[in-house]
Amino acid sequence: MSQTRWLPYLLIAPATLFLGAIFVVPLVQTILLSFNGGAGGVFANYQRMMGDLNFGVSLRNTFLLVVTVVPLQMALAIGMGLMLQKLTHGRELVLWIWTIPLGVSDLAAGLVWFAILQNTGYFNTLLFHLGLISGPTAWLNSETPYTLFIAVVVAEIWRSTAVVLVVIVAGLQLIPKEFGEAAEIFGASPLKKFVRVTLPMLKPSLQSALILRTVLAFEVFASAYAIGGRNIPVLVGEAYVWQRENQNYSVAAAYAVLIMIISLSATWVYLRLLRENPEAQA
């Protein structure tokens, strides 16, 4: 059709204009702020950021968390999605239950996992009743860094897998049953069917879920702070500390720009690796 040339631009125009009006101006102002080092020069704020006590630690923690949490929950969500498909009775109920964490705020999620894992919490109560420990035991302080990390991973997976699940479930709906049935008739094992039929057809949803989830994962903050306090600094947390406590908006802006660059780079990588060409859908 002749409109094909300008139609896509028309379709993305409202969203673009909206973001331009609301978001771009404050964003540009803040980016400029990060480069306003005053007497110290253009990069003063970045130097301050990188020389800070917690910079290296927060960078490392954030990356570790993203690299651990995201693959685990992608696998979990795909598994959950497939299980939902096979379910005949109560599918809607189970889906609803599995999406409940979506409605849980950061405060409540951090609070409840802290309540579960703290010294006098539910997890220790369980272990105590099972006779595995003798009294309140610490899992979450500076002397137990590994269990602390695992605790944050668990809380994050609990809180945010539902996001990935919803996207994947919506995507699984569109895979025609016939493809799977054909595969079975030709003797494909469930694994082969999954790898050869389901996964490729799920690719657009997987890509979306992966990108969205990764960008959000680099913003991990509330869980880490609720569970770990000062013991597990993360990038967004440090940005907030500079803004709220140190009252230095410029260095906070520098952290935010760094986070943005990291997230967008990860997205760029995903978009290249999982490239989906609309024209190839013939």
């Binding site: 006590l53 610490a138 302080n141 306090g229 947390g237 500390v241």
Partner: protein
């Protein structure tokens, strides 16, 4: 089904459109924005009890960070919705360079008969020559002791006048006999440990907050504090408010702001003692916390705000404030004998702290402009490096003293108590 969705959508849109354009606060409305008295029951008490008899006010609370952002935005856009501000000294300080506060020398003059101490009024000038805030209420930091810890007190130690070495010994006794470390400090992300370091530890050992930052006495101090920390509950780095670990029984000896231990005391007053903090070689230092009332520049209702200030500083209101929310009066007012037991404990502890024989007053920093946060950071970073990361004391102190020096030079803030007054920026030896 699609029709129904469309119908639902359009009616939602219409309803929302009608309600969404609710106008901004009307011109004469008196809005009182506060960072203090935020928790639900306290805010309700402000509305129902404390503001009774005052001009009609809308009481709104904000956390400190949105508070600062909001005031800066209102200044930048010359749009003013807030008339009266209630916040801590440290939170009002950055508003001065922003130009968000209206000088209130006239209000101060009308309140001369209230008996607000001159020292507090001086703090209210925030380093300028004009009165920027009127002191509203005061508090301080105390030590709370669960009576369960008393049997482990070292021989010869008096819980009402401990030294830091005795505190460390006490903690060690507790650990040896019970296997748990039960001293606690608010070293969490929102905890007030910085004030402990500035207001208690440093002045007690060095009689200074800034100038003697890296002196030999400071070195000894960090050594002693490391010994105390070794007996502290390692979860301290998550504690924001000590009332929770106290109520959970995780901590038996805690240091914190009185407002952050109040719940524990109210809930089980018979279980606790409130005592003065420990002393160092140079005395028993404490830091008074002052919350102040300021009028926003360009306030929609300056007259009403001034009336509110007068109301809140009336002796009767100050007494009611103390009984209801545990923040103590700044005016001359006698507290009634029938205070709730928890508040009574606090009052006793505060009195003990302020009237100790070896008491040293450490004032809140003045003249730091918007660098108050970075000032705290110097102390917290030193703490992190020396105590948590076990870095060598001398090297860390030297490095951090450089940062402090840079800060003082940048802000040109003159010294304040307990440091001796200085010409120009407070030096760091």
């Amino acid at each position: 089904m699609r029709q129904m969705l469309k119908l639902k959508a359009s009616s939602a849109l219409v309803a929302a459109a009608m309600l969404a354009f609710v106008p901004v606060a009307k011109a004469q409305e008196l809005i009182f924005l506060s960072t203090q008295l935020r928790p639900i029951d306290e805010a309700q008490k402000v509305r129902d009890v404390i503001l009774k008899g005052a001009p009609k006010t809308t009481y709104v609370v904000d956390e400190p960070s949105p508070f600062t952002v909001r005031m800066k935005a209102e200044v930048d856009t010359n749009t003013h919705t807030i008339s009266l501000l209630g916040a801590l000294h440290g939170e009002l300080q950055p508003l001065v360079p922003m130009g968000a506060l209206d000088p209130i020398d006239d209000v101060a003059a009308s309140l001369k008969d209230r008996g607000i101490p001159a020292g507090l009024m001086e703090l209210g000038k925030l380093g300028t020559v004009k009165q920027m805030y009127i002191p509203w209420m005061q508090a301080t930091y105390v030590m709370v002791v669960n009576k369960k810890a008393l049997p482990y007190l070292p021989a010869g130690a008096d819980v009402h006048s401990l030294t830091y070495q005795q505190l460390a010994e006490w903690g060690k006794n507790i650990q040896d006999k019970t296997g748990q470390r039960r001293i606690g400090f608010p070293a969490g992300p929102k905890g007030l440990l910085a004030r402990f370091l500035q207001g208690n530890l440093y002045p007690s050992y060095t009689a200074s907050m800034v100038t003697e930052y890296r002196s030999k006495e400071a070195e000894a101090m960090w050594g002693d504090f490391k010994a105390v920390w070794a007996q502290a509950n390692p979860n301290s780095t998550s504690y924001d408010f000590m009332q929770e670990p106290l109520m959970a029984g995780d901590v038996w000896i805690a240091w914190d702001h009185i407002a952050r231990v109040k719940d524990a005391l109210q809930q089980a007053p018979d279980d606790y003692l409130v005592v003065a903090p420990p002393a160092g070689p140079k005395g028993r230092a404490y830091m008074p916390v002052v919350a102040g009332l300021a009028i926003a520049k360009g306030a929609p209702d300056r007259k009403g705000a001034a009336e509110l200030i007068a109301h809140l500083t009336k002796p009767e209101t100050q007494v009611v404030t103390a009984s209801e929310v545990g923040f103590f009066p700044v005016v001359s007012a006698t507290l009634p004998a029938d205070l709730s037991p928890g508040v009574k404990l606090l009052a006793q502890g505060v009195a003990e702290t302020q009237s100790a024989k070896d008491a040293v007053v450490a004032l809140l920093p003045v003249g730091l402009g918007d660098k108050g946060g970075e000032f705290n950071k110097v102390y917290m970073d030193t703490f992190q490096r020396i105590v948590l990361r076990q870095e060598p004391i001398r090297a860390t102190l030297d490095a951090q003293a450089d940062v402090m020096r840079g800060l003082m030079d940048a802000t040109k803030a003159p010294c304040w108590a307990p440091d001796k007054p200085s010409e120009g920026a407070c030096p760091v030896k």
